[in-house]
């Protein structure tokens, strides 16, 4: 006997792996914005410095790097870029990626109490995290521009902004978002069963940073590799080259510093890795969301 009726929805155990239902997520656009607002407000409520923390954090981090590594690697002598600016550009562009990974990676565990009570597209939560991080990133990016202009006016530093490269900034941001979200979604899906990944993510992101040009420019790695191709130097260079975050950080630097070349092939490589991770992460996330309440 055949059902003639048009059901609004049929709940079944199996779900097609390749259905992202992004239109459903867009239906909940209001909710995403409210989550963003919630995250932003709860971030600075009952702190004395409030949103200033967005600015202070990268500044402090940059000072530490500049003091610790600035002289050791003699970056100022290698390039015409002041070491403070160099490290700030790295920290700021790294921050968005790192925040997106760590915050989205516990989507399921952190929201279990809500997810266990009511259904809404679960992808709204990681998307809202991306957007709230984008706000933080904009603030930090603005800070970088301010300090950059400060160096031009008071530090005798000559502007090196490449006008063509500026146009690539949105692409770089989208690329970072895809990479961060992709990794975050994969980790959050795995964490529902094996909490080991939650332990891993903390130092994993840290480790990835040391394998990126945030602290060490690729030019120096190349130099080390030439001196010692079989040993550490060679390994470092390979790791830096394959890290999909490297082209993004270099991309940002190429906008502001002439020492760095904008390499479209490297960006293309990074974009495709980002896209694959994002799609795979989102599919895995969708697959997990149906039954995660039983295991989390």
């Amino acid at each position: 006997m055949k059902e003639q009726k048009n059901w609004t929805e049929i709940i079944t155990p199996e779900r097609k792996f390749f259905s992202l239902k992004l239109n459903e997520v867009l239906d909940y656009w209001d909710l995403i914005l409210l989550f963003v607002r919630r995250d932003f407000v709860s971030f600075y409520k009952q702190t004395i410095l409030g949103p200033a923390w967005y600015v202070l954090q990268p500044l402090i981090q940059t000072c530490i790097y500049a003091l610790m590594f600035g002289s050791a690697f003699k970056i100022a002598k290698e390039t015409s870029v002041p070491s403070f600016l160099f490290y700030l550009s790295g920290t700021v562009s790294w921050w968005y990626f790192a925040q997106s990974v760590t915050k989205t990676s516990n989507t399921f565990t952190a929201n279990a109490h809500i997810f266990g009570k009511v259904y809404f597209p679960r992808l709204t939560v990681p998307f809202s995290i991306l957007i709230s991080n984008l706000i933080g990133f904009s603030i930090q990016f603005f800070l970088f521009i301010c300090i950059y202009t400060g160096y031009i006016f008071f530090g005798g530093f000559e502007s090196q902004i490449g006008l063509n490269e500026i146009l690539w900034i949105p692409v770089l941001i989208i690329n970072m978002a895809m990479l961060g979200l992709g990794i975050g979604l994969i980790i959050s899906s795995l964490t529902t069963k094996y909490k080991d990944f939650q332990q891993f993510i903390g130092f994993g992101v840290q480790l990835l940073m040391f394998a990126s040009p945030v602290i060490l420019p690729i030019s120096i790695a190349e130099k080390m590799s030439n001196e010692n191709p079989e040993g550490w130097g060679g390994l470092l260079k390979t790791v830096l080259e394959y890290n999909p975050m490297s082209p993004i950080i270099e991309g940002f630097r190429s906008v502001f510093f002439t020492d760095y070349q904008f390499d479209i092939n490297r960006i293309g490589y990074s974009l495709s890795i980002g896209f694959i991770l994002f799609i795979f992460g989102a599919l895995l996330f969708r697959k997990t969301e149906q039954n995660f309440m039983d295991t989390v």
Binding site: K5, I10, P13, Y28, L31, R38, I114, M293
Partner: protein
């Protein structure tokens, strides 16, 4: 043909894994993946056909087994059953919080579920902000919420606290605000789980009124899960009784509630209480036996209206020690589990009782000078606790059969169908 059906549940199963998820889980997952590769389905691996809820080496348990039912549009269906009968699991699957293991549910219309009020409230946000957040989580659009904001505020009675962070709210205010938002949802199907257990009596009344209004006047379907038979009776037209993960029976609420109570009674007919399994509490003290006695101290099977009688309850102490401030109570209920009267040592004597460390068994007797019940079948619940912990709680611990007696010394009684409770009074003309 099936146009008036809102929900159709077909052959629904839900399996849970017992025990801890750890390194073994990985091993099991691999085993399962291997079985899947060889073309076996999940059902084959765990042999779903077995009627026992435990399967295989009992690592997996079925919370739901072959559940089938339909809900018509505009109907209020009450889902009842004992703890662990699978009610909450069913609701979770219906509200898409978790997925079924096998079977399917066909739904016609937008579902909104209320498994908890105030889901997603953030303590730092104000009442107004939380209304929007909570509303959006429940699936409302911003303009929709804005349109109803005044109504919601009015219904919750939050008033001037609207722009205060909800962390400063009392718990009652939070619940009221949460329910107010949920009540103004306009889904075709509303799923409600015991939210009425919270809030004061007046608010509960408003909630029931609202739910009635939603279904009767707006033609929406409501699924309501509760342990409170009084509110199920007041609210629902049809009932669905669940037992051990299956549907025991469905039908008119007036037929289903007695069936539900019979589930308890079947276990509770004995006066030897220590054999009963469905009990709550930590068991440091347990009800052992209960006996009905007349004034000559002989055990009786039934009592007469107006008779002088007593309940003799024997309690056993699991590990003899000193207990302070013990409270023991007995609650008599009618066939709909509505409490008729409540007896306890702390109320009658004005204080709790202490037990010294040598006692391993003691009796409590509740004396009634004049049994104030009309003829009929009643039950009683037993409860024992101190100020901090619950020692033992037995629902439907025993049956109390009452035959018409000479309560009024006139040989007459009001009809039992209209009045189960008798009051001492006189009339002057």
């Amino acid at each position: 043909m099936s146009d008036d059906i809102a929900i159709k549940v077909e052959g629904l199963y839900k399996q849970y894994r017992l025990g801890v998820i750890g390194a073994d889980t990985l091993k099991d997952d691999l085993k399962l993946a291997l079985a899947k590769l060889r073309g076996k389905s999940l059902a084959d691996v765990y042999d779903i056909q077995g009627n026992d809820r435990m399967v295989g080496d009992s690592e997996y348990v079925y919370a739901l087994q072959d559940v089938n039912f339909e809900v018509k549009k505009g109907e209020i269906l009450g889902i009842i059953g004992k703890n662990g009968a699978g009610k909450s699991t069913l609701l979770k699957i219906l509200s898409k919080v978790t997925g079924p293991t096998k079977g399917q549910i066909k739904v016609d219309g937008r579902i909104a579920s209320l498994l908890e009020v105030g889901t997603g409230f953030h303590p730092e946000l104000t009442g107004r902000e939380n209304i929007f957040l909570n509303g959006a989580i429940l699936g409302m659009k911003k303009p929709e919420i804005r349109k109803k904001l005044d109504e919601i505020v009015d219904f919750s009675g939050i008033g001037k606290y609207l722009d205060t962070p909800v962390k400063r709210y009392s718990s009652g205010m939070m619940v009221r605000l949460g329910f107010a938002v949920a009540a103004h949802l306009e889904p075709e199907i509303l799923i409600v789980d015991e939210v009425l257990a919270v809030g004061d009596a007046e608010f509960q009344k408003r909630c029931i009124g609202k739910m009635n209004d939603v279904s009767k006047n707006q033609g929406r379907t409501v699924l309501f899960v509760s342990h409170n038979m009084a509110s199920v009776m007041e609210l629902c037209d049809r009932g669905l009784l669940m037992q051990h993960g299956t549907v025991h029976s469905t039908g008119k609420v007036s037929d289903i509630i007695p069936a539900y109570l019979n589930v308890f009674r079947a276990e509770a007919l004995t006066s030897e209480l220590h054999t009963l399994k469905t009990r709550n509490g930590n068991g440091k003290i347990q009800f052992h036996r209960v006996q009905l006695m007349d004034q000559e101290n002989s055990v009786i099977d039934f009592a007469l209206s107006g008779q002088k009688m007593k309940f003799k309850v024997t309690l056993k102490v699991h590990k003899p020690q000193e207990f302070k401030q013990i409270h023991i109570s007995l609650r008599v209920v009618d066939s709909n589990d509505v409490t008729l009267f409540h007896l306890s040592n702390s109320v009658a004597n004005g204080k709790e009782v202490s037990i010294n460390k040598d006692t391993d068994e003691f009796d409590v007797e509740f004396h009634l000078d004049k049994l104030p019940l009309n003829s009929g079948k009643y039950h009683f619940h037993l409860f024992c606790s101190d100020l901090q912990e619950v020692y033992d709680e037995l629902n439907f611990a025993g049956e109390l059969n009452v035959e018409g007696g000479n309560f009024y010394k006139s040989g007459k009684l009001p009809p039992a169908s209209t009045s189960s409770f008798l009051v001492d009074y006189n009339v002057t003309i």
